[in-house]
Every structure is written in structure tokens, then in C-alpha cells.
């Protein structure tokens, strides 16, 4: 497996791990903490940001590159 491919797969696993942890935290905050709205909105924004950055590669929009 070449280095670039291994790095891409590693990024996928890392992102999945972070999203899993944040989702678990989100659940615990939502179920056990009173008035969790602000915390949950912050967590959702962080999760969305990670997906947009790592999975959707938004930076490709302003980068001169092909595939």
C-alpha cells in the first residue's frame, strides 16, 4: 500500500473515531445534563465541521488540483 493511500485510510479511521467519541459525548450530555441545548449545538457544529473538512474535502474548492 503506498504512503498516500495509507494516509487517506488513516484519516478516515481517525475521523470516524473522533465522530464516534463526539456522538457518545453528545448522547451522554443530552440524556444526563439538564438544559443541554447549547452544548449539543456546539457538538453538532464541531461534528459537521469535521465531516466537511475531512470527508467532504471542502478545501478542494479553492485548490488547483484534479483528483
Amino acid at each position: 500500500m503506498n504512503d498516500k493511500k495509507a494516509a487517506a485510510y488513516r484519516l478516515g479511521f481517525t475521523t470516524l473515531g473522533i465522530l464516534a467519541v463526539l456522538t457518545a459525548v453528545e448522547y451522554i450530555v443530552g440524556v444526563y445534563i439538564p438544559n443541554p441545548a447549547v452544548w449539543l449545538i456546539i457538538l453538532a457544529l464541531v461534528k459537521a465541521g469535521i465531516i466537511v473538512q475531512n470527508f467532504m474535502h471542502i478545501a478542494r474548492l479553492w485548490r488547483e488540483e484534479s483528483h
Partner: protein
């Protein structure tokens, strides 16, 4: 005459955008589409906070967590499939797309058959209620819940079809590691559907007091 035709063809070809230029335009177009869709989903979220306020319907929070986990996992497999195609690994691409489509189908079944409970079933496992009770006619709770999950489920369904079309085209050898806009577009669309759920999940299942 033929010289004129040849000159005309050369002229036409010189104005044809390169693949890189097309790709940039395609990406921008797709992101603009996502931006336009954002207004629809944002309106639904605003409706939820305006109409429900600090309350929410009695829903199985564990079922919501499982559905969310399944969708996040499917996004990972789509990412893996796209990365695999970008590096010429067709086998991982095909398995990734199929697993993602399967997980997307599980999510869809979870919403339509379990949460909407269209067959009126009952049951539980380890104290976790498997089927929902909320009906579309249950006032603002039902109306907002079905509008949000329905619009999202419609996008999930179209995403699954998109993933399967791309998987089939990839199987036929239509993409390469250099040129696979179709794969990228399907992956982007799927991740977008995931991002929307990232906001819908806490809004529906976690924020507010059940009652």
C-alpha cells in the same frame, strides 16, 4: 472545404475546457446546490425550535443514537470507497460503496419501519423500545417530526440510489484514479446527508424535555 472544416474543428477543440476546469466547475456547482438545500433544512430546524420550544416528543433516544451511528459509519465507508478509487483500488471501492448503501438502507428502514412504525408493530429488546408511537397527526410534534425525518429520508433514499449507480458504473470500469467525478459527487452528496442528520439528531432526540 475540408481544410476549412478541419480549422473549424481545431478552433472548437481549443475552447473545450480541460478536465481540471470542468472538475472545478462541477465541484462549485454541487456545493452551490448544497448551499441552496441548506435553506430547506434550516427552515425545518427553525420550525422545530419555534414550534417545540423547550419540549420534544417521547422518542427512543437509543434508537436515535443507533440510527446516527449507522449513518456516520456509512459516511466512513463512502470516504474509504472514494479514497480507494483515487488510488486505483477498485476492490475496496466496490466493497465500500456496497457497505455504505447497505448501512444507508438500514438507516432508512430504522426511520420508516421502526420510528414511523408504518405497520403499527410493537416490541422491545433489553428495555429499548423498537417501534415509535408518534403519528403525523399528533399536533406540532407529529407534523415537525415527520416533516424533518421525511425530508431527510427522501435524501437518504436518493443517496442510496446514487451510491448504487456509481457502484455499478465503477464495476463496469467507468472511472479511473485520475477521473472519477461521479464517485466524488456521490460521496459528497452522501456526506451532506450525514451533516444534515448531525443537526437533526440532537434537535429531535436530545434537546428539550420529553412530554
Amino acid at each position: 472545404m475540408s481544410a476549412i472544416t478541419a480549422h473549424h474543428d481545431d478552433h472548437a477543440h481549443s475552447h473545450e475546457p480541460s478536465f481540471a476546469q470542468q472538475l472545478r466547475s462541477n465541484r462549485l456547482g454541487l456545493w452551490l446546490f448544497f448551499f441552496s438545500e441548506l435553506f430547506l433544512f434550516a427552515a425545518l430546524l427553525v420550525a422545530r425550535f419555534f414550534l417545540w420550544g423547550g419540549a420534544r416528543p417521547e422518542l427512543s433516544q437509543v434508537l436515535g443514537l443507533i440510527a446516527t451511528s449507522v449513518l456516520l459509519l456509512s459516511s466512513f465507508f463512502v470516504y474509504r470507497a472514494e479514497s480507494a478509487m483515487a488510488h486505483g483500488d477498485r476492490k475496496t471501492f466496490q466493497s465500500g460503496m456496497l457497505i455504505a448503501a447497505f448501512l444507508g438502507t438500514l438507516f432508512f428502514i430504522g426511520v420508516v419501519f421502526m420510528e414511523w412504525n408504518i405497520f403499527g408493530l410493537q416490541g422491545e429488546i433489553a428495555g429499548i423500545e423498537l417501534f415509535g408511537h408518534l403519528k403525523p397527526t399528533d399536533g406540532v410534534f407529529g407534523a415537525v417530526f415527520y416533516a424533518m425525518t421525511g425530508m431527510h429520508a427522501l435524501h437518504v433514499l436518493s443517496g442510496i440510489i446514487f451510491l448504487l449507480i456509481v457502484w455499478n458504473n465503477g464495476r463496469k470500469g467507468h472511472f479511473s484514479s485520475e477521473e472519477h467525478w461521479g464517485v466524488e459527487a456521490a460521496a459528497l452528496y452522501w456526506h451532506y446527508v450525514d451533516v444534515i442528520w448531525v443537526f437533526f439528531y440532537p434537535a429531535l432526540y436530545l434537546i428539550g424535555t420529553a412530554g
